[in-house]
């Protein structure tokens, strides 16, 4: 990429900010509904450094990461197990697909009964959602391991266990990372939704919701941007880890 092309992504941002500033300056939309960019980013800045928004941001990060981590610990070994036997996977495929398609938010009442009001419910619902996504991807990664590669290992005299650990596991890594990225995105969605109700006292979801209730529009937009930045960063973080650990993906 040439140097000028590297700045292309900023063009869209500049246009958005320009339109927003113009609309706000000409008061085309009621300032109560759409505050100026300056007001919004000032609120975002002061909220993040030492304000309540920063504390809520950290809460959401911790919950999302915990959910994804727990989901990964459960789903990766299970996915490998299911994927290594196509028969086994086919026998539970319907269940996985069914619950993967069930909106995790529909599970809140159930998990509330099970775990009560608090972090445990939020984290378990998000874990549930993320785990299914990761499980499905890992299992597919293992099942779709290149036949030639498995055969190559077999022909060199690798035992079943060696084939599993030396080949299938490595082969499934790119797909596993796809699962982890999707999983963390889903976990974030679920956590933010969970923070909006059921007696939440903190987190980005609660911050957005409370700002709206108090008609604190700059605060609400600031919290939305914070959530967006979080989602984007988490995805980027996993991409960076993926590039490091799965250097061969797509080559």
């Amino acid at each position: 990429m040439t140097r000028s092309n590297a700045f292309l992504p900023l063009v869209g941002v500049a246009i958005l900010l320009a339109v927003w500033s113009l609309v706000s300056w000409l008061s085309l939309i009621d300032p109560v509904l759409l505050p100026s960019p300056e007001a919004t980013f000032r609120t975002l800045w002061y909220g993040m450094i030492g304000g309540k928004l920063g504390a809520d941001f950290v809460k959401t990060v911790v919950r999302t990461i915990s959910s994804t981590a727990i989901a990964a610990v459960i789903a990766i070994p299970l996915g490998i197990l299911l994927g290594s036997s196509e028969k086994l996977y086919r026998s539970v495929e319907f269940l996985i697909d069914f619950f993967r398609s069930t909106p995790a938010s529909a599970m809140f009442p159930l998990f509330l009964v099970l775990f009560g009001v608090g972090d445990r419910t939020k984290i378990s619902v998000a874990t549930f959602g993320a785990a299914l996504v990761i499980l499905f991807n890992v299992a597919y990664g293992v099942m779709n391991a290149r036949k030639t590669r498995l055969l190559a290992a077999k022909v060199m005299g690798a035992s079943r266990t060696r084939v599993l650990f030396d080949v299938m596991l490595k082969e499934s890594l790119p797909q596993t990372f796809v699962g982890l990225r999707n999983g963390v995105s889903l976990a974030l969605v679920i956590i933010v939704v969970a923070e909006m109700f059921i007696g939440s006292t903190d987190g980005l979801g609660m911050r957005v919701f409370e700002a709206q209730q108090l008609f604190d529009m700059p605060g609400m937009y600031a919290a939305i941007f914070a959530a967006g930045a979080l989602g984007y960063s988490l995805n980027l973080l996993f991409l960076v880890i993926e590039r490091r650990f799965v250097h061969w993906a797509g080559r």
């Binding site: 290149r146 036949k147 030639t148 590669r149 055969l151 190559a152 077999k154 022909v155 060199m156 005299g157 690798a158 060696r162 030396d166 080949v167 490595k170 890594l173 250097h247 061969w248 080559r251």
Partner: protein, 272 residues
């Protein structure tokens, strides 16, 4: 000696010269069907030791199936393959796939790909490194083995595959259309690399080829198969001195052998 099945139509020429040499591989009564098509029916063949044999025949006649059954990748329906009386499980062999991209491990550096079979055998790291270095020196390979396979050209990747097959010092080497995914320039280069490997190691080698020029150029014998169910049409000897070069391909012996093989091949194709 090279005994052939009773079903051989033409008595191969030049067999009497090698009668003093016991066969390396004996194949007896090999049968294989795919769905309803019999690919092999009571197939017999003796493979001499230390020779390079190209397997050539019409499309779908089961060239690859033959070496895959000998190498144990595909179980035969019936029949037996013995290596001087021993079963495959007691034989060290190397196998080179056509699709090097999918046969190498992209998560390992080329060096570790070559060393992997030794790792499976439980050879210690220092010894593995020593043996790979030794093989590199012996074959005169000039590839940066610290690179990952996807950083190498197609020919280099296939050369790494061949080295991986050779690292265990196999008594027999199988190659399934090893150069068919390479461009012509690289194919010519790789033929000579393989010839060098063969001259250096004198390993019994079975090469499946879909290119008659290549099959003759590289081989001591061209194994011509019929349409399925496959029979040995003829085991055509080609004894030009090695190293063979571009010039070999314009010599009368080469031209005559190739023409003979082509005539038999076309007769087989028309029969279908």
């Amino acid at each position: 000696m090279i005994g052939l099945s009773t079903s051989v139509a033409t008595k191969p020429a030049g067999l009497d010269e090698v009668t003093d040499c016991a066969p390396h591989v004996t194949i007896r009564g090999l049968c294989k069907r795919f769905t309803d098509t019999p690919i092999y029916e009571g197939f017999d063949l003796d493979i001499p030791r230390g020779k390079l044999i190209s397997v050539f025949g019409p499309n779908g006649c089961g060239k690859s199936t033959l070496i895959n059954m000998i190498a144990g990748l595909i179980p035969p329906d019936a029949g037996e393959v013995l290596f001087e009386g021993r079963p495959l499980s007691r034989v060290k062999f190397g196998y080179v796939f056509q699709n090097y991209r999918e046969a190498l491990f992209p998560w390992l550096r080329a060096f570790d790909n070559v060393a992997y079979p030794l790792k499976l055998m439980g050879v210690a790291k220092a010894e593995r490194d020593r043996r790979v270095e030794h093989l590199v020196a012996r074959l005169g390979v000039k590839i940066d083995l610290s690179l990952y396979p996807y950083q190498l050209s197609g020919g280099q990747q296939q050369l790494v595959s061949i080295m991986r097959a050779l690292i265990v010092e196999p008594e027999i080497l199988f190659l399934d259309e090893p150069f068919s995914a390479l461009d012509y320039e690289m194919t010519l280069f790789m033929r000579d690399q393989l010839q060098r490997v063969f001259m250096e190691t004198a390993t019994t080698t079975l090469l499946v080829s879909h290119d008659l020029e290549e099959a003759v150029y590289l081989s001591d014998y061209v194994l011509l198969l019929s349409r399925h169910p496959a029979r040995v049409v003829e085991l055509v000897p080609f004894d030009a001195a090695r190293p063979r070069t571009d010039r070999t391909m314009s010599e009368p012996g080469f031209v005559a052998t190739k023409a003979h093989c082509l005539k038999l091949f076309q007769r087989e194709v028309r029969r279908g």
